[in-house]
């Protein structure tokens, strides 16, 4: 099969599915829609695997815009190829928005990630939503939005130009909004979906401004042109040379402002501090969609964006990369600390997601073009993206199974579930080991590389913070794990006639697939063959000191968690009693949400909006009413002249005639 003939279907099929399922939502039962949607996405997934497989291992060529044949590989170097590029809208002479299909190692990898996670979530949701029973009618809607999301996410990673990315960026945002607000009758879900949309929208505004600045100076949206030849075009357009930072704005180099704005867009989607506030609340959505959107795919869009523009960042704006890694490091630690104090299992996972995405950001932030050591961060970041997508999706799906049985998100309602749900137990354990960074499991490799990259590039402070975070990660994940599966069994289970149990095959199959991927990651072809900054084979240095320390820290974290939470005891409560204020503070997410609410509710709504509305009502409207009032008053006063007394009129008339005659004569 020709790549050019199947590539369009990867985008079209999910989109058509969205339209179809959306229009037939009231005609089909939920199960029918689910089956249609899953089958269709199965086909899409096969196409994705096929395209990615051909790209990495096969050999094919497409024609580029000038009619030249471009191969997927030249020697050992993977090429960036544009499979097709439809013109969508011409904006100015040079700026045209295309909708296209761009293949390079990272987008091919993302194809695999999206296809796998999305397909598994499609299958899992069938069990989750259907057996959940009470909300069958919404299932068609759910599958329609899943299709929309898959379409948007595929379009995002396959974007040939930054504007296409922005278009699909907004679309993933809205599908996330729709999925978070799936249980729209629950007030918490409503406020969560609003919050998610508005926060990411706020960040998108910066993204848009960044695009505007960048495209104004470079006169192009195309990634190909922006990235080509070590971002030469960008350097030229902003007249950046070795000695000068080019065009400035208010004393700042303009390129720094532009790229930082673009990063802020990414920070919004990827929940970097201080835009992270929406992600924990987004857990109000159905758990499978949390696994897909808020753990595996959409939230890494920001990482993907920075990776996509990596040459631009690395050559034109290295100071922004510095900022990214500091923001990332702070976010990682901050989210990990908050995760320790959360009691809602999905919230713990949400903060852990924030923390892990921050790892990817840090890895990108410390990377630069140059040599193998300096480029290591890029590969490490992409690797972590992949591994994290798999094990975090699995953890979320496990949570889904647990919540399904326990019908609560609160840790206190759980405990001793091991004997009831063995499959979930083992999968969850694998996920926890992976995220903690224990050898053999996938997370170990990617996290180790990230830490190595930090240290080798001289970011020692960041290395220390990230290692500390790794320990915290191990601790809070195993706290979660022991609390759910060991600790003290909730006495309700034994007496309940709905004993907790492993779910049907639709729900366990995805868990097993992800578990296999997490354990079998070492057997996958090495990421350093293709997914590198230079798109060719790269030596991956292994620093055994770093690895050793990270394993030790992780084991320490696990040990503390074991000590505190394996069996029910008073130790955690005693520790918390020592500093209740701090615990409270951390449990309330360090009050960051309150600060945001303070700014938005009190300031923007309370001060700006209210005063503008007041001004409008009283001043502008008041002025118009005043005009009307004056007119009315004047006419009321002067209407007495219209007395109806004919003789008075004549008198005035004659006086007028005399006056005029007098004036005319003299």
């Amino acid at each position: 099969m020709e790549i050019t003939s199947i590539a369009p279907w990867i985008l079209l099929l999910p989109f058509l599915m969205f339209i179809f399922l959306g229009l037939t939502a009231h005609k089909f039962s939920g199960q029918t829609s689910a089956k249609i949607g899953t089958t269709a996405f199965g086909i899409v997934a096969i196409l994705c695997y096929y395209v990615a497989g051909r790209y990495f291992f096969g050999n094919f060529s497409v024609l580029d815009a000038n009619g030249f044949e471009v191969f997927n590989k030249t020697g050992e170097i993977y090429n960036q190829i544009t499979v097709f590029n439809w013109t969508w809208m011409q904006m100015t002479e040079n700026l045209t928005i295309h909708i296209g299909f761009y293949l390079d190692p990272i987008s091919a990898m993302m194809l695999v990630v999206i296809a796998t996670v999305s397909l598994m979530v499609h299958i899992y949701s069938y069990g989750y939503m259907f057996e959940h029973g009470h909300f069958d009618e919404g299932m068609s809607r759910y599958y329609a939005v899943l299709s929309l999301f898959s379409f948007a996410m595929l379009g995002l990673v396959l974007a040939t130009n930054i504007f296409q990315m922005y278009i699909f960026w907004e679309l993933v945002g809205v599908s996330s909004f729709l999925l978070i607000g799936y249980y729209f009758f629950k007030p918490a879900a409503v406020s969560a979906c609003k919050k998610a949309f508005i926060v990411t929208r706020f960040a998108d505004m910066f993204f848009l401004i960044g695009i505007l600045i960048l495209s104004y100076h470079t006169q192009t949206f195309d990634f190909d042109q922006l990235n080509a030849d070590n971002a030469k075009h960008v350097l030229d357009s902003f007249s950046i040379t070795d000695g000068s930072r080019g065009i400035t704005f208010l004393g700042f180099p303009l390129i720094t402002i532009a790229t930082f704005c673009i990063f802020l867009g990414g920070a919004g989607k990827s929940a970097m501090f201080p835009f992270h506030i929406w992600l924990p609340d987004a857990m109000e959505g159905p758990t499978p969609s949390s696994a897909l959107i808020h753990a595996a795919t959409m939230v890494v869009a920001g990482v993907f964006l920075v990776a996509r523009l990596f040459p631009v960042y690395s050559f034109a704006a290295p100071e922004v990369l510095n900022a990214i890694c500091y923001i990332g490091a702070f976010t990682a630690l901050f989210a990990a600390i908050i995760a320790v104090a959360q009691t809602d299992i999905k919230r713990v996972l949400a903060f852990s997601t924030i923390s892990q995405i921050a790892y990817m950001m840090v890895a990108l932030g410390v990377a630069r073009f140059g040599n193998h050591e300096s480029e290591l961060g890029f590969t490490a970041s992409m690797m972590h993206l992949f591994t994290h997508a798999m094990f975090k999706a699995m953890l979320f799906l496990c949570c889904g199974c647990i919540i399904h049985c326990v019908e609560s998100n609160e840790m206190s309602k759980m405990g001793g579930l091991k004997k009831y749900m063995p499959i979930t137990y083992w999968c969850f354990l694998i996920g926890c080991l992976a995220i903690a960074g224990i050898p053999i499991f996938s997370g170990f490799y990617s996290k180790g590389e990230i830490l190595t990259a930090c240290l080798e590039n001289g970011y020692t402070a960041i290395y220390v913070v990230m290692t500390l975070t790794a320990g915290l990660t191990a601790f809070y994940m195993f706290r979660l794990f022991f609390h759910i599966f060991h600790y003290e069994e909730n006495p309700e289970y034994a007496t309940s006639h709905h004993k907790p149990h492993d779910q049907g095959w639709q729900m366990t199959l995805p868990l097993i697939v992800f578990a296999v991927l997490t354990v079998g990651f070492v057997f996958l072809p090495g990421f350093n063959n293709a997914i590198t900054a230079t798109r060719t084979y790269m030596e991956m240095p292994t620093n055994w000191t770093v690895e050793g320390i990270s394993i030790a820290v992780a084991l320490l974290g696990i040990a503390i968690a074991f000590f505190l939470y394996y069996k029910k005891n008073e130790k955690p409560a005693n520790i918390m009693a020592k500093c209740p204020a701090l615990c409270e503070f951390v449990y309330n997410r360090m009050k960051i949400d309150e600060i945001w609410y303070g700014i938005t509710r009190s300031f923007i709504f309370g001060v700006i909006c209210k005063s503008i509305a007041w001004f409008d009502h009283n001043c502008i409207d008041g002025f118009m009413n005043l005009c009307a009032w004056i007119t009315q008053k004047v006419s009321l006063e002067t209407k007495d002249a219209q007395s109806g007394n004919v003789q008075q009129y004549v008198w005035v008339f004659i006086m007028g005639v005399v006056t005029i005659a007098f004036l005319a004569l003299y």
Binding site: G644, N645, V646, Q647, V650, I654
Partner: protein
């Protein structure tokens, strides 16, 4: 021949008597009579000027005839209105028809 000034003085006097009457009378019939005086002042002017300026033409006479006819018709209408006002209001002073509404 009587000089034209004599006619003009007569008509001016007549006109201002009419105007004074129109302004000062309270009675509607008096108003009507004052209007007749004003119209007749105009008629005198028409006839006099025609006679002195264009003795060979008759437009002035014709216009004064017109005015007389129209005045007669107008008087008929006005008397009818005044009769109605009197029936309604019980008097026929100018003040009583100040309010056109109701």
């Amino acid at each position: 021949m009587i000089p034209v000034q004599f006619y003009l003085v007569i008509s001016t006097l007549l006109f201002f008597i009419g105007v004074f009457g129109f302004i000062s009378r309270k009675n509607l019939i008096g108003l009507l009579m004052s209007i007749e005086l004003i119209l007749n002042a105009v008629n005198i002017n028409f006839v006099a000027f025609n006679r002195y300026l264009f003795p060979n033409q008759i437009e002035g006479y014709i216009y004064s005839l017109f005015i007389i006819v129209v005045a007669a018709a107008e008087t008929a209408v006005a008397i009818a209105i005044i009769m109605n006002v009197y029936r309604r209001m019980g008097n026929e002073t100018v003040k009583s028809i100040k309010e056109l509404k109701n």
